[in-house]
């Protein structure tokens, strides 16, 4: 048996590791785990820092081919944070039973209600919940009495930090000054904000830029053309008051963060600054496992634990077989489709809180048509992984990569992209911590694989740099910024 400790959070790790080893040996002695099962057993101890997440205390991810036949690879995941004395034995037994070939599919699913089939995380139903949240943000906030921003760690977006904004304004002004000196200043200076939030950052940024411009009498401010893009009309509307003093410069547009170029191709090579805060960590993602020189794609299936199914059924007076159709109705039509809005919203929150993801591992070579995000393919991924650990699990950050690659062509030759987000910048980090997916309010988030972004960017003609956000103590965000590669 191999026991992997995947976190630096040492508080209870020792005790849990001891418990796991003792429990497994006990189960072997009792004959509950066969010696050959013991030999191939690999247990991963994680520390899931998100209070709301998609994991059970013990879960199992088995290898499978595309037909669903089991492969020998199998990982048992234990969330050290959730472990309480005495819970491991049942958890491990249940996990082992789930992957026992003699267990019937009905028996396997007796403790859960699957909401979908196994598939890529990026197409999972959980993203429909995410989308519902952003399109119905106002309703959610009203119901909870709490704004999205207050759910963020620290209760405020790092994107609004005044000194960070002042520095950003100063850098941009310097760029324009330099371009003017070289007689290259375009008549219209385009700035794109992807994911506008409440519009606060852009409002503050414009206030400061106007002030600096007036102070230095450079008259750049009237040249600015501000594009505020978001896929939610409701969010765009909510951002307008924050930039009301600069309305003449601003355009609000529905824009797919995954492909800004689709909306803005007429501005190819013309945008001087593209900025986003906490957008990449909320774009569709998936994970890949590297084990013994082979790559496995982590497929997921969303489900509700049976205890929650019972509870939701009682609360909303729904028989178990009506819960899945109600979930789909909610996701397609919103809260009103479930009788009244308040009831719909409560149902939404109950389901979202309960939802879990189970996993299986599919050999990537069994998926010749695997849709790699733009800028990446199997050969490139192999190249990138050449110096990476031989045994680790990492995010593909498909949505972030897609957005990134579809944003770069918009940049003016002197333009740059700035992304403030949570990044993993070293593959080894994946062996020292958990980086999502987790739940944040009604959304889900994963850290962004900065290593992949950096490598893909190089092939696209940009160097990517990560600067830790030093303006707020304890902030986990960094600022990705691009420079042109010669």
């Amino acid at each position: 048996m191999i026991l992997n400790l995947n976190h630096l959070h040492g508080e209870s790790a020792g005790a849990t590791a001891r418990d796991v080893v003792e429990t497994v040996y006990k189960l072997v002695e009792e004959g509950q785990i066969a010696p050959n099962e013991f030999a191939s057993l690999r247990i991963q101890l994680d520390w899931i820092q998100y209070k709301q997440n998609f994991r059970d205390i013990v879960s199992v991810a088995q290898g499978s081919n595309t037909r669903g036949d089991a492969l020998s690879i199998m990982d048992v995941h234990i969330d050290t944070r959730q472990v309480v004395p005495g819970c491991l034995r049942d958890g491990i037994l249940r996990a082992m039973a789930r992957v026992n070939p003699e267990t019937s599919p009905e028996m396997r699913d007796q403790d859960r209600l699957p909401l979908e089939d196994f598939q890529s995380l990026r197409t999972s139903i959980v993203w429909d919940f995410n989308k519902l949240y952003w399109t119905r943000l106002r309703d959610w906030e009203e119901a909870t009495g709490k704004s999205y921003e207050r759910s963020l760690p620290g209760g405020v977006s790092d994107g609004h930090q005044p000194q960070a904004i002042a520095d950003s304004v100063g850098d941009f002004w310097t760029l324009l000054k330099d371009m003017e000196a070289k007689k290259n200043l375009p008549p219209e200076v385009y700035i794109l904000e992807i994911g506008v939030g409440a519009g606060i950052r852009m409002g503050l940024w414009l206030d400061k830029f106007r002030h600096l411009d007036q102070q230095r009498q450079t008259n750049y401010y009237p040249k600015l053309r501000i594009l505020l893009g978001d896929y939610s009309l409701q969010t765009l509307d909510m951002s307008k008051p924050a930039v009301k003093e600069h309305t003449d410069l601003c355009s609000f547009m529905v824009l797919d963060a995954l492909n800004p170029l689709k909306t803005l191709s007429f501005l190819r090579h013309k945008i001087m600054q593209v900025h986003s805060t906490n957008v990449y960590d909320n774009l569709p993602d998936e994970e890949v496992l590297r084990r013994d020189g082979r790559l496995y794609f982590v497929q997921v299936r969303a489900y509700l634990p049976i205890a929650d199914v019972v509870k939701i059924g009682e609360t909303f007076d729904l028989p178990p077989d009506k819960i899945t159709p109600c979930v789909h109705r909610l996701l397609e039509g919103g809260m009103d489709t479930l009788g009244d809005r308040a009831r719909g919203l409560a149902f939404w929150q109950a389901v979202w809180n309960a939802i879990r993801l189970e996993e299986r591992l599919v050999l990537l070579e069994d998926l010749p048509d695997f849709p790699f995000p733009e800028g990446l393919d199997a050969a490139k991924l192999e190249d990138i992984l050449a110096g990476a650990p031989s045994d680790f699990r990492f995010h593909l950050s498909s949505g972030a990569l897609e957005s990134f690659i579809n944003t770069l062509p918009l940049l003016h030759p002197r333009g740059y992209l700035q992304v403030q987000d949570i990044f993993v910048t070293d593959f080894n980090a994946y062996r020292m911590g958990f980086y999502g997916p987790g739940k944040l309010d009604g959304t889900l988030l994963s850290w962004v694989n900065g290593v992949l972004l950096r490598e893909v960017a190089e092939r696209a003609g940009y160097d990517v740099h990560f600067a830790p956000f030093h303006y707020r103590k304890g902030s986990k965000t960094s600022i990705l910024y691009t420079t042109r590669r010669e």
Binding site: N184, R268, D383, P409, P413, E458, R485, E486
Partner: protein
């Protein structure tokens, strides 16, 4: 071989296929030999020539698959330029290179590549070389007192090479100088260097000046106005400029300054994958005909097709030929 009116050609490079990129990287990783890579390059050149001829171009190049980029192919051959061969992670990266002493006069060995092109091409050929100004910008100069002095010596060495190419049968040569647009203040000395490069070279010589195409993106933006009147001193026959992506506004400069050169008219945007229509190409040519007679126009893409997928590059060339034929017909040619 007589060329039709409005002859069509490429700027130089053809699409670099993904499989060839991977094989080049394999070579750098020592997983295939130099001999194998040379054979692969030969095959890729033949394929590029064939594609151009099938697309209907009147003048073909070798497509430049041998060149990892427009700089290293030349600097590697320059005696006196020291290359740090460990400095490259991906084949397309530039080597770090430095000059620490006077460049000796020596052959660069380009004739073999030209002869290969000549052997397999059934159409008129053009051979392209990167110009001294561009090469100078990529070398760390630790010897010469100025960039101009370094560029001048590069021009002297390359002048000898251009003469060798002419001796081997080259009739059309193109000098690529994309860095002019990034450093317009260099133009006065860059033109002197250019004239040293082409002095006594008995061939039709064009200069390609664009706004950069590194990684398929422009490196600079602006107007070709900076070229005038300085470029009028250049002793070349053709200026090859990009107009498809940037629009035709700068065509007026040809009206204003009446340069003696032919115009290599960029009619295909090489920075997008959408394939133009023949009508769009014809429209670009008609616009240029308002300024210049057809005898003074050569039709070609804005820049090299290096960064486009092969099928897109091929379709763009075919479209360019079709669009040109529309205008030839209108001209009764």
């Amino acid at each position: 071989m007589a060329l039709p009116i409005l002859p069509t050609t490429m700027v130089g490079s053809y699409a670099m296929p993904g499989w060839l990129e991977r094989l080049k990287t394999e070579y750098f990783a020592r997983r295939i030999s130099r001999h194998e890579l040379d054979e692969i390059h030969d095959t890729a050149v033949k394929a590029a020539i064939k594609d151009q001829e099938v697309a209907g171009l009147d003048i073909v190049t070798d497509g430049e698959p041998r060149r990892d980029n427009m700089v290293d192919y030349f600097l590697e051959r320059f005696p006196g330029v020291q290359i740090d061969r460990t400095s490259k992670k991906f084949y397309y990266d530039f080597y770090d290179s430095v000059v620490k002493g006077k460049l000796p006069m020596a052959s660069l060995g380009l004739v073999a590549d030209f002869k290969f092109l000549q052997t397999f091409a059934e159409r008129e050929t053009k051979f392209c070389v990167t110009g001294p100004h561009c090469l100078t910008k990529r070398i760390r100069n630790e010897f010469y007192p100025s960039e101009e002095a370094l560029a001048m010596d590069i021009a002297r060495v390359m002048n000898m090479e251009l003469k060798a190419l002419v001796k081997a049968g080259a009739k059309l040569l193109q000098i690529d100088e994309p860095y002019y647009s990034g450093f317009p203040e260099d133009l006065p000395w860059a033109v002197k260097v250019l004239n040293t490069l082409v002095e006594g070279v008995d061939a039709k010589i064009g200069v390609h000046i664009c706004y950069g195409n590194r990684y398929g993106k422009p490196s600079w933006e602006g107007s070709y106005r900076y070229l005038f009147p300085g470029i009028l001193e250049a002793k070349v026959h053709q200026l090859t400029l990009e107009f498809a992506r940037r629009g035709g506004e700068d065509l007026d400069l040809f009206k204003e300054f009446k340069p003696p050169f032919e115009l290599g008219l960029g009619v295909i945007d090489v920075k997008i994958h959408d394939v133009e229509t023949p009508d769009m190409v014809a429209q670009h040519i008609r616009k240029a005909l308002d300024v210049l007679p057809p005898e003074k126009i050569v039709v070609l893409p804005d820049c090299g097709l290096f960064h486009l997928p092969r099928d897109v590059a091929f379709s763009k060339l075919k479209t360019m030929v079709e669009g040109t034929r529309i205008v030839r017909k209108e001209l009764g040619k």
